[in-house]
């Protein structure tokens, strides 16, 4: 039976993992992901799942163990944050390059140094080129729904790629909200049984995995992986649509909020979208045509969908919780510029880096971003492209 209960983002992820009941979970604890590990360990101890839970000695080993079990043809999951994701970096590429449909929950936390346990998105955004699908969640309900969908997406035979489900540390991971849980049976039916394409334990069809691939073939192998990631967009949309048809909550690659007639818009990912909705509602109350575009899917990048959604906007700001030191702009902003260029959409675009190391991004600060956008829309030209929200000693 479906039921609505109060859950944190970590709790919602753990609940989805319980219902998915993967064969293997390999993990190492790190704040703010720990609650997922602990809850799941309890499910294992209570016999509520059949999972082999491997408590390894570091994140590098966690993802290595996941690669092994996924190659052996079983459904495999893990979860981490920040330094843990950084330590997994080598194995991120191994998982994607070997086309292993591992699902990881990454609870976004900033990367040291200076050491800090709070939220920003520098961990997963910094792993953007590892070849994983990356989906960002606004609240615990989305975490729950997305983890379930991620299994279907990853394991699709046309996709066969690892998926990272990202949620903002503390803001989403530790705040409790009502979450509607599906019936265990409904989840089982939705995700179906994992049918691996290849399987190291299938002695009838012996294979070897992880081979040395020299210049004659490497490039083609890599391109096949790039192509699969590009193509996975369709599957992400299809799974999000089917989820909506069955359970009433529909998901896509991007989601607009009061965007259809908007003149100015904020584009963001994760929990900032929730805060920005409040700002949009207030501005609409004052008769200002403000809108919001939430990027749910960051990899593969929804080039056409994003450009299409923005083409009638006069000025937009990309708000992201990460910096790209020395780059022409932060990662999401730069990707959006490239996407707009590819689609020949010309709008005034500015960047706001916000919330690094857990600095709060309140409604009133997002308000100031919209005020800035009003100025840009009026003058038809950005006064300053790269901005840092609520940074002391800047300007």
């Amino acid at each position: 039976m479906r039921k609505k209960i109060g859950l944190t983002g970590d709790g919602a992820a753990a609940e989805a993992m319980r219902q998915i009941d993967p064969e293997v979970v390999a993990v190492y604890p790190i704040t703010p992901q720990t609650e997922i590990v602990e809850r799941f360990a309890e499910f294992v101890a209570e016999g509520l799942v059949q999972t082999e839970l491997i408590n390894v000695e570091s994140e590098h080993s966690a993802l290595s163990a996941c690669c092994g079990s996924s190659m052996a043809g079983v459904r495999t999951m893990t979860c981490t944050s920040a330094q843990g994701l950084a330590l997994m970096h080598e194995m991120l590429y191994i998982a994607a390059g070997n086309r292993l449909p591992i699902v990881m929950v990454n609870v976004n936390r900033t990367l040291s140094a200076p050491i800090n346990i709070h939220n920003d998105q520098s961990d997963s955004l910094g792993s953007r080129d590892a070849g994983w699908i990356q989906l960002y969640c606004e609240n615990p309900q989305e975490v729950y729904d997305t983890v379930i969908q991620a299994v279907r997406i990853a394991e699709d035979h046309q996709v066969m790629l690892p998926v990272m489900v990202c949620l903002d540390g503390f803001i989403v991971s530790h705040n409790m909200e009502p979450v509607e849980l599906l019936d265990d049976g409904e989840v089982k039916e939705f995700i179906g049984e994992f049918k691996p394409r290849l399987n190291l334990l299938d002695t009838e069809r012996p294979i070897t995995a992880g081979n040395l691939t020299l210049p004659e073939y490497f490039f083609e192998h890599k391109y096949a992986q790039v192509y699969a990631l590009e193509q996975s967009k369709e599957k992400i949309e299809e799974v999000g649509r089917e989820f909506g048809d069955r359970f009433g909550r529909r998901y896509g690659l991007v989601e607009g909020y009061k965007l259809d007639d908007a003149e100015i818009a904020v584009i963001t990912l994760g929990s900032m979208a929730g805060t920005a909705r409040v700002a949009v509602d207030a501005l609409r109350g004052e008769g200002i045509k403000a809108g919001l575009l939430k990027m749910r899917c960051y990899r593969p990048f929804p080039v056409q969908e994003l450009a299409g959604a923005l083409k009638n906007i006069r000025a937009a700001a990309v708000m992201e919780k990460a910096v790209s030191p020395g780059a022409p702009g932060p990662a999401v902003f730069s990707d959006i510029i490239a996407a707009l260029y590819r689609q020949s959409v010309r709008i005034n675009l500015i960047s706001y880096v916000a919330g690094l190391g857990g600095r709060d991004v309140p409604v009133k600060s997002i308000h100031r971003v919209y005020e800035h956008l009003q100025k840009v829309a009026a003058s038809g030209e950005p006064d300053r492209i790269l901005n840092y929200l609520d940074l002391r000693g800047w300007e």
């Binding site: 190492y28 604890p29 602990e38 360990a41 101890a45 000695e57």
Partner: protein, 216 residues
């Protein structure tokens, strides 16, 4: 106190310290580590520092648990004891870190407890004065994340436990093996100098090599 501190990443204190010691061999370098840090994520670094016998002093605060992340079991959580990730008890075998580093080549190895604080201070002081890799395992209570779920619900009862279970190595040498089964041996477990052994120290070897090659 007059020293600088360096905060590293989880598990990597020993490699940071190794770099520091090689660059500035005249400095006294102390590594503060935990059982999770030294035995799990940084376990490889520990054995290699011991193998090289580099002149660092590593003090491992062994509270039998990952305290910082709120109570998951570590490689030093005793078998059958509970943890957040082992609600029905840990089924994994443990390391004896002191025996591990002795086997790997450390030249000074000692164990103390928070209860036997005077002796612990002495052991750490000797470790710092010792030239070579010194490892001191300091048993420390974690009432919040280890004691509470294992029937020792206060810092005092945990210290009491240490008092009752720790046995000095000299006293232990007079006991039969079965009498030591639930005991923790404390004191100086290995000291190359006291045994008259001369184990080469790595930073010295390193500078000797530089000098030898430059003088050529």
């Amino acid at each position: 106190m007059n020293f600088n501190t360096l905060h590293t990443t989880h598990g990597r204190a020993i490699p940071f310290a190794t770099g520091l010691k090689l660059a500035r061999p005249e400095l006294t370098v102390i590594v503060i580590t935990g059982d999770g840090d030294a035995a799990a994520i940084g376990g490889n670094h520990l054995i290699h520092a011991a193998r090289r016998n580099i002149d660092l002093t590593a003090v491992c605060f062994n509270n039998n648990i990952y305290g910082m992340t709120s109570g998951q079991y570590s490689p030093l959580t005793p078998k059958s004891k509970k943890a957040a990730t082992a609600p029905y008890g840990n089924i994994e075998n443990n390391f004896d870190l002191c025996r591990l580093v002795i086997a790997a080549g450390a030249s000074y190895v000692a164990r103390g407890t928070a209860y036997h604080v005077r002796s612990l201070i002495r052991l750490i002081t000797r470790g710092i004065r010792h030239r070579g890799f010194a490892f001191i395992e300091a048993l420390s209570p974690c009432p919040t994340y280890y004691g509470r779920i294992n029937g020792l619900d206060s810092a005092i009862s945990m210290l009491q436990w240490q008092k009752e279970h720790a046995l000095d190595i000299k006293a232990a040498s007079r006991k039969r093996p079965y009498e030591l089964e639930d005991k923790i041996i404390i004191g100086e477990l290995f000291n190359s100098e006291a045994r008259g052994l001369n184990i080469p120290e790595f930073s010295q070897e390193y500078w000797n090599l530089i000098k030898r090659v430059k003088d050529k």
